[in-house]
Symmetry: C2
């Protein structure tokens, strides 16, 4: 396994990985293996290897962006960051990510649990499927990974070591920095949008308040190193079954602001909601599903706050807001006030990031299947135009929108076409 | 030079450093060397080595905190961070720091320029000496080092590499995190204060707003990795002559918020101002000097803003607020608005850090000569009590104090005894 890097193919999986103990034990003898390449993301190769004993996933980074091609090189080291993020997420929220069985840095390759029962959440949302307990699982994942990866909980020497480790994930941060925060707001070369949106796009790009806000948020993303982020927590990075959810693909992991992952996640639920009319067989047929999606979005934030609060009261063992200064001095009330301040800051950041994530999925390089699957271009443009306005309202309103009730009310009005 | 670490003594300097080319060239033959240990700081050994050809400074870290003793170990690696900070400061604001001639990581030793004409600024402020152009030089130093060490200017891969490098400066960050932000606000074991302050101290430690604010600022210090800080920019880290100023001792260097260095610097000017009555031979004899110190404090901020603005307009080459999004789109006004937003945020942080720095110098472990040199304990306590109130007013008022005119007016009222 110490060869130079070479991309795997279905044919080379058995010869190259057939000697790995974990593959033989969990998949079976290599002679029984069947291999299917299923990568539908933007970056990597993903193989399902099935055999007499079971199945595993083999994920391998390519030295370029799969979505674009070899003209856009991308370092293989992203597998290293994905591996380290997965191990930390598994420790901080057990059961939330696929189990990792093997990592090969040279081959940029991770062997992990195959989730046979699961599909990509985004596909489920488009198909109109409901998942019980989804908000609980995702809200808890955010609270646990974000709280436990910060100076609220970790020994700070360890947090600083992780900050340094993930600070080397330059190439993937560069994608976020450019594609999320800058490209959507000017005529960047890789941008594309649905033709009917020309006027809406021109209006947004002439909106100085929005452009300034996006750049302030970019600064926050790049420099507010509060906790270890998943970094790409959209509905395509979540796999769901009837009974559970797993978070995958954390190769964008980096230290950043608490609000980033939650903001991106909320954005993807809100876009799914805005896209529902495009998936309705008859007008109104998806209204209830859109409502359910909004409930999930609201639930994610509520569960996040509840779990964050529990962790604040029980696991605040880091250098910040120490019990020795608060509870131990009879000042537990001050600790609660500090928590509310911090949650208010996280809420503002969440809304800010939520808005730019919506914009970049409609105006930038990487679009969402939620909208892309809407065949009728006029209908797609109408759904996207509403989402663009929603994104703008959330980012620019981030200091005044009080709670999720205000967000869902705003979303309902906009999706009802009230303001367009 | 690859021996194990051993602390230097005046007697071992010539035998151990006599083979270094730079020492022979700039000091002269070792037989002519005369050595004086002059370290008056809290941490290190500092030797002036004089010889037939000139003089140099040899600074060596000790494996413990000099102020406390061997019971408080402190890693020698701080010399490594000091060396790397000095080279970056020299590049970002040429002439602002002593020239470095030699670095030995194993011996935790830096050989640098001897500033024969200079004294420590704090001593000058206590002695009632004025320095022309001081605000210009310090304001420029802050603007240039802070702007040019951030994603406003640097290639972000290089900034992220430096972020990772300085994230290893854990032990010295730990000192700041504890001694500046936490210890002053409860009865920590290393604290001490002038006896007459008991009631003021009790009042401050019962002040929940102040305690919460200090912890929010600690979080900002620990996680807002905007730029490379000096990390300990007080008037004891600045050497002055009639014609220039040099900044020394950046071993606390780390990535942190723009406002930290400036806030600490302002705090030390404001404390110098509050302490002036304690150094007056006759009542009022130091009023003019206190006024001059306030003018310098105000000038530092003004020059910082001016220079930051110039750099924003001419050297904004980093990933943040790119010209491609603003000026290149005919949106130069939006770039100016973004700059004003950012300066407003830096101003709030500056005031916040300024207040806690004042508190910790009066209540914590490391006190200031400005107050310590006041022999009359009652007078010292009175000066310190005013400074404590000023610190509280600045930190808690950081969102509403508009400008330096408000800060100097507040300081004049408080030092006149208006509110105590």
């Amino acid at each position: 396994m110490s060869h130079d890097y070479a991309a795997l193919t279905p044919e080379t999986i058995a010869p190259r990985l057939g000697t790995l103990d974990v593959m033989r034990a969990r998949v079976g003898p290599p002679a029984t293996w069947q291999v299917r390449e299923v990568g539908d993301g933007n970056l990597n190769l993903v193989f399902i290897v099935t055999g007499a004993a079971g199945a595993l996933i083999v994920k391998q980074a390519l030295p370029y962006v799969r979505l674009v091609g070899e003209s856009w090189p991308l370092p293989l080291e992203r597998a290293f960051f994905e591996y380290h993020a997965l191990t930390r997420q598994a420790a901080r929220d057990p059961g939330s990510v696929p189990q990792v069985h093997h990592f090969d840095a040279t081959q940029a390759l991770i062997v992990m649990e195959y989730l046979a029962e699961h599909i990509i959440l985004r596909q489920g949302l488009i198909a109109g499927i409901r998942y019980d307990g989804l908000a609980d699982r995702l809200g808890r994942f955010c609270a646990r990974t974000l709280f436990r990866g910060s100076d609220l909980h970790m020994p700070t020497a360890q947090r600083k070591a992780d900050l340094a480790l993930f600070a080397a994930n330059v190439a993937l941060c560069d994608i976020t920095e450019n594609l999320v925060f800058s490209d959507p707001y000017f005529d960047a070369s890789m941008n594309r949008h649905t033709p009917g949106l020309d006027r809406a796009v021109a209006r947004l790009r002439a909106d100085l308040d929005m452009k300034i806000a996006a750049q302030h948020l970019k600064m926050a993303f790049a420099s507010k190193a509060q906790t270890l982020l998943h970094g790409d927590l959209h509905s395509g990075s979540i796999m769901v079954s009837a009974s559970e959810a797993r978070v995958i693909d954390p190769e964008f992991a980096t230290y950043g602001p608490f609000g980033f992952d939650i903001g991106m996640l909320l954005a993807n639920f809100l876009m799914a909601c805005c896209a529902q009319p495009g998936h309705a067989d008859t007008p109104g047929a998806r209204d209830a599903h859109a409502d359910w999606i909004l409930d999930v979005a609201a639930g994610v934030w509520e569960v996040f706050v509840d779990e964050f609060t529990t962790l604040w009261r029980t696991e605040r063992t880091g250098i910040l807001y120490q019990a020795s200064l608060f509870e131990d001095q009879g000042h537990a009330l001050a600790s609660e006030r500090a928590r509310l301040d911090l949650l208010a800051e996280i809420w503002r950041d969440t809304l800010g990031f939520c808005g730019v994530e919506i914009h970049r999925r409609i105006l930038g390089l990487a679009h969402n299947a939620d909208f892309e699957r809407i065949a009728d271009e006029g209908l797609r443009a109408a759904c996207e135009a509403r989402a663009l306005e929603l994104g703008r309202a959330l980012t620019l309103g981030r200091a005044s929108i009080a709670d999720m009730a205000a967000v869902t009310a705003l979303t309902r009005h906009i999706t009802a076409g009230d303001y367009l």
